[in-house]
C-alpha cells in the first residue's frame, strides 16, 4: 500500500511538471539563427525610456526608439529623424523638417505632430535646467515640418541631442501622457522591436530586428548615422552572480558582457576567444559627497581637511586595480570634458595628513560622529567607503560605517536630519562621464540648496555663474565663467572628486564592429 503513496507523489510531480511545460511560453530561440546574447550589469525592470533608475531604460530607448538628433564621435550634432533644420535670423525660431517614410512599430507613419510632442516630453524630462519654460510655442507647419520658438537665445539643440536625455521619437499619444506617468507599452521608431510578450523582468528582455526600419545613409559614427542591424534578435540576459556571467562568456554561452566588474578583468584577459575593451572613453566620475547642512561638514575647513586626506591613486588602485581602467583626475568635471580644469598643486594626488589635521583643528572639529553610507551591493562604492573610513580615522575623526544597500541608500540620502538621528555625513557615487561634463549638467555642482542634489551646497555666487554659463553663446566667455567657477569650487568643496574609472567590456572574438559609445549599441556589429 505504501508504495502507492510514493507512486502518487511521483504522479503528482510529473503532472505538475507537465502543466508547467504547457504553461511556459515557447521562447525557443532556435528559429533565430543570429541571436546575440548580452549580459547587462542590471536588470531591465522599467520600460519607460526616460525612467532614470539605472541606465537600462535609456539603453532600451536607443534600441527601440530613434532620436531627433544625435551626436557623433567629435561631439557634433547630427540629424537622425530630422532631415534638415534652420534657425531664424533672431535665433529664436527653430524649424525642423523630418525624414519621410518613417514608421512606428505598429505600422503607423511618423508625423511632425508625433515628433513635436516627443520634443515637448524630452524637454520636460531634461533635468539640467527648466528649459521647457524657455520654449514659448511649438507649431506644426505640415505633416513633415514643425517649429518651436524660444523666449531667449540658447543652444537648445545641444540639449535635445545629448545622449543622456535624448529626444526619443514616440507616438503623440505616448508623448502626451502626464510627465509623472510612465510609458507602459513600447511602440517605438527605432531599429529594434521590444518583445513585451517575452519580457521576463529579473531574467531577460528580448529585442527583434525591425525589418521595416529605414537606416540613414551616412556611415555609423558614435550615436549617429545609419543603424544597420545584422542580427535577428538581441537577448539581454541578467545574471545576478557576476562570477557566473564571466564563466558563461568564457564558454561562449553568452556573447558580450557590457560592463565587466574590475575584479574579473584579469581572468577574462587570459581567456581564449574573449576580447576585453573599453567602449566608453568618457568613463565614470567617482565622487565623495558630504552633507553640507550638518556639522561638521557645514564647515568649509573640515571639508577641506577631508580633501587633504584623499589620494585618488589609493582609491582607484584598490577598487579598480588595473591602471588601464582608471585615471587620476583632479578636476570637478570628468577629465575628458573640454571644460575640465585641473586643480593646481598636489591636491587629490597626494595625501597631506599634517595639513588635514591642521584644518581639522582650525575648523574646530569636536569629535562629531561621521556616518558613511555604505552600499554593500555595489563593490566599488563599498570599497570607497572603507577607504574613506580608514583615512578619516587616521586624522582622528569619529567614523561610523552604516551598511545598507542601494535601494535603501537612495532613500536615506534624502534625509536632512543629523547623522545621529538617522541622517548621514558622507556617501560615495559615480556618474557616467557625459552626464557630468559641464558645470550646468553636473548635478553635484548645483548650488541652490532648494534645488541642489543631496548634500545641499549653498553658494549663490557659484549658482549665478552656472546660469550665466548656460546662456553664454560665446565660447571665450563660457571658458572664463567656467574657470572662475572651478576656482571657487576648489575652496568651497561641494564634493571631492575621486577620479575617473573606465568600464571594461568583454565580448567573444566572433563579434565584430561594436561601435565605441557610452551607450551599448547593437546595430552595425556582426556575429559570425
Amino acid at each position: 500500500m505504501e508504495d502507492f503513496f510514493i507512486m502518487l507523489k511521483a504522479i503528482a510531480v510529473s503532472i505538475a511538471l507537465g502543466a508547467a511545460m504547457v504553461m511556459s511560453q515557447s521562447t525557443s530561440s532556435l528559429a533565430h539563427e543570429k541571436t546575440l546574447r548580452v549580459s547587462m550589469l542590471y536588470d531591465l525592470n522599467l520600460i519607460d525610456p526616460y525612467a532614470q533608475t539605472g541606465y537600462l531604460p535609456r539603453y532600451l530607448g536607443f534600441m527601440a526608439y530613434d532620436t531627433l538628433f544625435s551626436i557623433d564621435s567629435k561631439g557634433n550634432i547630427a540629424p537622425q529623424v530630422a532631415d534638415s533644420w534652420s534657425l531664424s535670423p533672431d535665433k529664436l525660431v527653430h524649424t525642423i523638417k523630418i525624414r519621410t517614410g518613417l514608421k512606428f512599430h505598429d505600422g503607423s507613419p511618423v508625423t511632425a505632430a508625433d515628433v513635436a510632442a516627443s520634443v515637448k516630453r524630452a524637454l520636460q524630462r531634461n533635468r539640467f535646467i527648466h528649459f521647457a519654460s524657455l520654449v514659448t510655442s511649438v507649431d506644426i507647419v505640415d505633416d513633415q515640418t514643425f517649429s518651436f520658438t524660444l523666449s531667449r537665445e540658447f543652444k537648445i539643440l545641444d540639449y535635445l541631442a545629448n545622449i543622456h536625455t535624448p529626444t526619443f521619437i514616440m507616438p503623440k499619444a505616448d508623448a502626451e501622457l502626464p510627465i509623472t506617468q510612465s510609458i507602459s507599452k513600447v511602440n517605438g521608431s527605432g531599429p529594434f522591436i521590444f518583445r513585451h510578450d517575452l519580457w521576463k523582468p529579473g531574467s531577460r528582455a528580448i529585442f527583434d530586428k525591425n525589418t521595416a526600419y529605414s537606416p540613414r545613409s551616412e556611415a555609423p559614427d558614435f550615436m549617429s548615422g545609419g543603424k544597420h542591424v545584422n542580427v535577428d534578435r538581441v537577448e539581454w540576459v541578467y545574471i545576478a552572480d557576476k562570477r557566473t556571467a564571466v564563466s558563461a562568456l568564457k564558454k561562449g554561452e553568452i556573447d558580450w558582457i557590457v560592463s565587466v566588474q574590475p575584479e574579473y578583468i584579469a581572468d577574462l584577459k587570459k581567456s581564449q576567444g574573449v576580447e576585453v575593451a573599453v567602449f566608453d572613453d568618457s568613463g565614470f566620475d567617482a565622487v565623495l559627497r558630504m552633507n553640507m547642512t550638518q556639522p561638521p561638514f557645514d564647515n568649509v575647513k573640515i571639508r577641506q581637511a577631508v580633501m587633504a586626506t584623499v589620494d585618488q591613486e589609493e582609491y582607484l588602485g584598490l577598487a579598480i586595480g588595473d591602471p588601464e581602467y582608471y585615471k587620476v583626475c583632479a578636476s570637478y568635471l570628468v577629465c575628458r570634458s573640454p571644460w575640465a580644469v585641473e586643480m593646481p598643486g598636489a591636491t587629490l594626488r597626494k595625501k597631506d595628513l599634517p595639513l588635514a589635521r591642521k584644518l581639522l583643528k582650525e575648523g574646530g572639529y569636536k569629535g562629531e560622529k561621521i556616518v558613511i553610507l555604505d552600499a554593500q551591493d555595489i563593490p566599488s562604492i563599498h570599497q570607497y567607503a572603507l577607504i574613506t573610513a580608514q583615512n578619516l580615522r587616521s586624522i582622528g575623526m569619529n567614523v561610523e560605517i552604516r551598511p545598507t544597500d542601494q535601494a535603501t541608500l537612495l532613500t536615506s540620502r534624502a534625509r536632512r536630519t543629523p547623522p545621529t538621528e538617522g541622517g548621514w555625513s558622507i556617501f560615495h557615487a559615480a556618474s557616467a562621464g557625459l552626464t557630468v561634463d559641464t558645470i550646468v549638467k553636473n548635478h553635484y555642482l548645483w548650488m541652490n540648496p532648494q534645488r541642489a542634489f543631496f548634500g545641499w551646497p549653498d553658494n549663490p555666487e557659484m549658482e549665478k555663474l552656472r546660469i550665466d554659463f548656460s546662456f553664454a553663446t560665446d565660447d571665450k566667455v563660457a571658458h572664463e565663467i567656467n574657470r572662475k567657477f572651478h576656482e571657487l569650487a576648489w575652496t568651497y568643496v561641494p564634493h571631492i572628486p575621486i577620479g575617473n574609472t573606465f568600464e571594461a567590456s568583454a565580448y567573444r572574438t566572433n563579434i565584430k564592429g561594436i561601435i565605441k559609445s557610452e551607450v551599448p549599441t547593437f546595430w552595425n556589429l556582426t556575429k559570425d
Binding site: K242, R243, V246, Q261, E263, Y264, A266, D267, K270, E313, E314, G317, L318, G321, D374, Q376, D377, P379, H382, Q383, L386, I387, A389, Q390, I401, P403, T404, D405, T408
Partner: protein
C-alpha cells in the same frame, strides 16, 4: 591533596578511553576547542589587523608574511579568517541559544496547556510553511544588516522546529508515572516543568541545539553569499567568501581558505552533535 592526583589520573584515563571509543567525536571536539580559542584570542594571534587596507599589498598569493595571501584591498586573509571564526561561532552559538531557549519555553507551554497549544501551534505551522531563507531575507530587509539582525533572522525560522521537538517530548513525559505522581502530590505546574520535565527533555534539546549551531554557521555564510548577511565591513566567513568568489580565476586563495575553514567547522560541530546524541541518550540514536 593526596586524593587529587589519582582523581586527575582517573579523569585522564577515562578521557583517553572515550577518545579511543569515539575517535571522530574526539577529533571534532578538539577542532571546536581550537576554534573557540582562536576566536577568543583573535586579537592576539592574528598576525595583522584584519581591516587594515593597503594598496601596496593587493592580491598577494600565500607567502611567509601572509600564509593565506591578501585580498583585493590588501588585507591579510589569515587574520580575516581568524577574526571570521569569532563571527561564525558567535552567530552559531547565539542562534542555537536563542532558538533553543525561546523554542523550549513555547514548546513546554504548548505541551502543557491545550489552549496555548491550539493557538501557538497554528502560528508555528505558519512560520514553518515559509521557506527559512526567505523569512531570513525578509527579516534582514526589515532590520538592516548587523550581526544581531542576522542572529534573529536565522533564529526565527528555527524556533518552530525546537517548539515541535520540545512539545512532543513534553507530551510523552506528561503521561509518565513520576510526573503523574508529582502532580497527585500537589506540585504546581512550574515546579513540575522545572523539576521533572526539563531535566528529562534536556538531552534531545541539547542534541538539536548542536545541529542548529552547525546549520546557523552555514546559513550565515549563505546569506553573506547572497550579499544580504552581516555588514560587509565585518570579516565574517560568509563575507570573505562572497568577496573572494569574484577572484576565483586570478586569486583562488581568497575563496579556498575561508571555504575550508567554514566546511571544517560545520563538519566538526555536526560530528560533535552526533557524538553527543550517542553519548547522552541511546534512545535517540535511531532518530536521525
Amino acid at each position: 591533596m593526596t586524593s587529587f592526583a589519582p582523581a586527575l589520573l582517573g579523569a585522564a584515563r577515562s578521557l583517553a578511553a572515550t577518545i579511543r571509543r569515539h575517535p571522530s567525536s574526539a577529533i571534532a571536539a578538539a577542532i571546536v576547542v581550537v576554534l573557540i580559542l582562536a576566536a577568543l584570542l583573535a586579537d592576539y594571534i592574528a598576525p595583522h589587523d584584519p581591516m587594515a587596507i593597503s594598496g601596496r599589498q593587493r592580491l598577494r598569493p600565500p607567502s611567509e608574511a601572509n600564509p593565506m595571501g591578501t585580498d583585493n584591498l590588501g588585507r591579510d586573509v589569515l587574520s580575516r579568517v581568524i577574526h571570521g571564526a569569532q563571527i561564525s561561532l558567535l552567530v552559531g552559538i547565539s542562534v542555537a541559544a536563542v532558538s533553543t531557549v525561546v523554542g523550549s519555553a513555547i514548546g513546554v507551554l504548548a505541551g502543557y496547556s491545550r489552549y496555548v497549544d491550539l493557538v501557538v501551534m497554528r502560528i508555528m505551522d505558519g512560520l514553518m510553511a515559509i521557506p527559512g531563507i526567505l523569512l531570513a531575507i525578509a527579516f534582514l530587509a526589515m532590520f538592516g544588516s548587523s550581526v544581531t539582525s542576522v542572529i534573529i533572522a536565522i533564529s526565527v525560522p528555527d524556533i518552530p522546529r525546537v517548539v515541535r521537538l520540545v512539545r512532543s517530548v513534553v507530551l510523552s513525559l506528561r503521561e509518565l508515572l513520576y510526573v503523574e505522581s508529582a502532580r497527585s502530590m500537589g506540585a504546581g505546574p512550574i515546579r513540575i516543568i522545572l523539576r521533572h520535565i526539563l531535566p528529562n527533555a534536556a538531552a534531545p534539546i541539547l542534541v538539536q541545539a548542536s545541529f542548529l549551531c552547525a546549520s546557523a554557521i552555514l546559513a550565515e555564510a549563505s546569506l553573506g553569499f547572497l550579499g544580504l548577511g552581516t555588514p560587509s565591513e565585518i570579516p565574517s566567513w560568509g563575507n570573505i567568501i562572497a568577496e573572494g568568489r569574484s577572484f576565483i580565476g586570478s586569486a583562488p586563495w581568497l575563496l579556498f581558505f575561508p571555504a575550508l575553514a567554514l566546511t571544517v567547522t560545520v563538519l566538526a560541530v555536526n560530528v560533535l552533535g552526533d557524538g553527543l546524541r550517542d553519548a547522552l541518550d541511546p534512545r535517540f540514536r535511531r532518530r536521525i
